[in-house]
């Protein structure tokens, strides 16, 4: 019952957040809605026994990504002028009817793809007993340190690179032409 309730709540949060991200006209709000949606996903994880993942989701997204985005939004929207020196609006409008129409088209096409897959999946779904949820932390830990140790290592390379790269790119210092 609890899990059902959690699922319902999480699903609602996820979908609601996602839809809000789509239609919100304020970037800051959209970002917050995204956070909500991600929280919902974390709840969905929790419902099916992915406890560690749920936690990571909360930590990484809430603590990391969304905050980063908020920073970025603030960095880019900051100064009073709405118009830059090229006469362009600095912070773009979120979209208009036309773009939504195009997006809708794209979404319809995408759903054609995905529905095809999902329909087949559901048709071919084997009915089998679901195992009880277990604590996954230890297993995941073991897997990460054994079978997937390489991925673990390489992701560190990737993160290092991303770190350095992000630093290089966004360092506000103007480079001299040389």
């Amino acid at each position: 019952m609890f899990s059902n309730t959690l699922f319902m709540l999480s699903a609602a949060l996820t979908l609601g957040g996602a839809f809000a991200v789509v239609y919100s006209q304020n970037l800051m709000h959209a970002c917050i809605y995204l956070l909500a949606s991600l929280f919902g996903v974390a709840g969905l994880y929790a419902c099916i026994g992915a406890d560690f993942l749920a936690a990571t989701q909360l930590v990484v997204y809430a603590g990391g990504v969304v905050i980063l985005m908020l920073f970025a939004i603030m960095l880019t929207g900051g100064t009073g002028n709405k118009i830059n020196r090229y006469g362009l609006e600095k912070v773009a409008a979120m979209g208009n009817k036309k773009t939504y129409f195009t997006a809708g088209f794209a979404a319809v096409v995408t759903s054609l793809i995905i529905l095809k897959i999902i329909a087949s999946v559901l048709r071919a779904q084997p009915s089998k007993e679901l195992a009880a949820n277990q604590v996954t932390v230890e297993k995941l830990g073991t897997l990460l340190a054994t079978d997937h140790i390489l991925a673990f290592e390489i992701s560190s390379v990737m993160l290092l690179g991303a770190l350095v790269g992000a630093a290089i790119i966004s360092r506000p210092r103007k480079e001299k032409h040389d």
């Binding site: 897959i117 997937h148 140790i149 390489i154 390379v157 290092l160 991303a162 350095v164 103007k174």
Partner: protein
Amino acid sequence: MYLNYLANIARYIPELILVALMAGLLILETTYREDEKNKKYIFIGGLIGLVVALASLVANFSGKSETIFSQSMIIDPFSTLMKIIMVLGTIGVFYLSRISKDIYESLKTEFIVMAVGILIGGMILASANNMLMIYIGVETLSILSYVMASFKKNDERSSEAGLKYALYGGLSAGIMLFGMSHIFGVLGTIQFSGMAVNLLKLNQAQMLILMPSFILFFVGIGYKIAAVPFHMWSPDVYEGSPTPVTAFFAIVPKIAGISALARIGFIFFTAATPMRASWILLLMAVASLTMTVGNVTAIGQKSVKRMLAYSSISHAGIMLCGLVVINDIGVRAITFYGITYLFMTLVAFYIVSIVQDKYGNDHFDRFTGLAYRYPFMAVVMTIVMFSLTGLPPLAGFVAKFNIINALLNSHFYTLAIILALNSVVSAYYYLKIVRLMTLKQQESNEVIEGFGFLNQFIIIVMTAPILVLGVFWENIMMLANGAKIFFQ
């Protein structure tokens, strides 16, 4: 008992060297003052590291094929050879970045670090044996590439390139993951070996899920090798990025993507399942589109770099032709193609970069009359262009010949003809450069500083394989022949 996941770690030395190199270079860089010029030890260190990695790869080549890290990776001659190509390409780009003015002096060290990072990603991709490794490899390649693309920090175009790359890459990665997730759902594992086994047990309905999922999966790699229609980012990015970066993008990610795709094809589609036919159909469509669109669009370009970007798209298409035939001949052909492609691309980009540094842009007109100022360079560029066209006795021809060979061996006549016709189209724009260099009279007698003795020498040395491989390709062919794909 848990330690068997570390068994055979000795085969993993090249990548380890590179990881260590990356970290080491980062540390080394911190020892420099921020405004210090000519941080040559980083360059030298990077070079030494790459050469050592190359040496260990070569040592690896003849070893037996095996999986390491609980089947996460396969070390087989094919992947090793592809890695060798990537490392060679990186070495080449290192020197190019050193002499290029397109990268800020202060960022040259970072370039080297990033390049090593991307190289690691590419090497992972080349020998990935599960979906996770594929994903990590692609992401490592991509994320660091985004950085690299926007390396020219004061140039709007460069950052626009990075932006486009990042956005497009994000979507592609998402689509790929979505596909992967369904593949995982159906096959129940992310290990290729297990997947290949499970694949044969599937019923019709499950197959029905799998094929679209594979196509979605294909997007992720297809975008890395800039296969049409997932190529649209690439001309923009190639044009906007600094030239050494473009050269790097034209080599490492493409080779890595091709090798991953070759492995996927081998592992999943060797067996005569219904999926094999649709996979081949997919690849055929993509390959012919890639060749054609790449060539046709290249004709209209004004910027040589952008032209080379499109041309590299079409070459990716030709390599894809080698993947259509899922057999050893095809693999051999693309391996050989990779080797020649490496040298041709490097030389072309070296010359374009040097010319561009002189004039600030790389329009075709900048090459006018080059033959009268720098005959050697013009000859070299001509050789490269003709080799890219596929004219004997240059390596490009032998490479193309092998691809056609592979195609016809499996009776893909249509694709072979499309390839042949595309070569003609490509001849047109390759000839354009040759024409400008040799047939037009020179406009000026300006000295291009980049064509110093050392640079000319290095360029000529890099051209030598194009000539040699065109005539004495027996040994390299044997090498490529030995580079078989291994899977368990």
